[in-house]
């Protein structure tokens, strides 16, 4: 954590290499979060790029004591995703989602077991996309990216109690969606 503070401070002083290290640390998480939200690889890359560009531009305004740096990055990404949906009304069909899943989960399975796991992942991925935006945020941040309750609460502008409640409801809905999906 001390290292992160130091990197933030050096980034504030304009050192690109320091911000590059922060970028290396948070890029996968932010990218995954955006990808889950927009379900499109190119759009996810574009929004992730914008997230880090804004962070680089505004890092001078970031105050470490207010909330974690990760939450600050998620906030930027979340706002960009909201703006993205405001500007372009998405018309996503089921076929498009399935094609997108193929593209999203395009890493090479190494064996049959991994292939089975990928099918499960695709089912979970599909189920997460059917949750409400807030429930999606909580599931991705808490379980995919392993943010703490405090970090998640700061990122989505809610109390820790509200996050717990959202998390509980999201898991229940997810369980139901997967069960229904398996039965159908």
């Amino acid at each position: 954590m001390q290292d992160e503070r130091e990197l933030i401070q050096r980034s504030k002083e304009g050192e690109g290499e320091a911000f590059g290290l922060l970028y290396d640390l948070y890029l996968p998480k932010i990218y995954r979060f955006v990808l889950f939200k927009v379900n499109h690889r190119e759009e996810a890359e574009d929004l992730t790029h914008q997230t880090f560009m804004q962070a680089w531009e505004k890092i001078g305004t970031y105050v470490h004591g207010d909330f974690p740096f990760s939450s600050w990055l998620y906030r930027i990404a979340r706002n960009l995703v909201i703006d993205h949906y405001r500007k372009s009304k998405p018309t996503v069909s089921i076929e498009t989602i399935e094609v997108s899943e193929e593209r999203v989960l395009s890493y090479e399975p190494s064996n049959a077991a991994r292939l089975d796991l990928e099918q499960e992942q695709a089912a979970v991925f599909r189920a997460i996309q059917k949750l409400t935006p807030s429930q999606q945020d909580v599931i991705i941040m808490r379980f995919v990216d392993e943010l703490s309750l405090k970090e998640t609460a700061a990122a989505i502008h809610k109390s820790e109690g509200a996050v717990k409640l959202l998390q509980h409801r999201a898991l229940m809905n997810l369980k139901k969606l997967l069960r229904d999906g398996t039965n159908s």
Partner: protein, 163 residues
């Protein structure tokens, strides 16, 4: 619930492509934030140069606008003569007098020419044209009258034709 959470965690395997990672990272590492997003800090000398440039610009603007104002004042009088009401009235009266005089002259010459023409016509009707000699006319009339028996020339020609 635990199998679901385990599967969700497996989704962490989703990663951005190396090409994207490298391309975006280069933007930060090859540039200084101060150079891109913030105004550069100016040294004292640079500040002096900027101030000097601004002063020179201000002087130039003052010279241009002040000069044009001065030129206007120098070549264009503050009050135009033509805009003085009394002067305008005097000039208008003078013009009107000239116009009246010219009209009177035109009227006079019109009347005079009428009188001259009328006199000439009267003279023509009352007295016969003086330039015509009555004896000459009479002689010519006699010479060209066919029925005139005293026209010997015609008689002679007729006789020659019948013989």
């Amino acid at each position: 619930m635990e199998p679901i959470l385990k599967t969700i965690r497996e989704l962490r395997a989703i990663q951005p492509s190396d090409e994207f990672r490298t391309r975006t990272r280069l933007l930060f590492t090859t540039s200084s934030r101060m150079g891109i997003f913030t105004y550069p800090r100016l040294s004292f000398l640079q500040t002096f140069h900027v101030a000097a440039a601004l002063t020179a610009t201000a002087l130039l603007v003052t010279a241009v606008f002040g000069g044009s104002h001065y030129l206007k004042q120098a070549f264009i009088p503050k009050t135009f003569v033509g805009l003085n009401n009394s002067e305008l009235l005097t000039e208008a009266n003078l013009l009107q007098n000239d116009i009246d005089i010219n009209l009177q002259e035109a009227d006079y010459y019109t009347k005079d020419s009428r009188r001259t023409v009328a006199a000439a016509l009267q003279e023509a009707f009352v007295t016969s044209p003086g330039h015509l000699n009555a004896s000459v006319i009479e002689r010519e009339m006699r010479a060209f009258t066919i029925e005139d028996p005293t026209n010997e020339e015609i008689n002679r020609l007729l006789e020659q034709a019948t013989l």
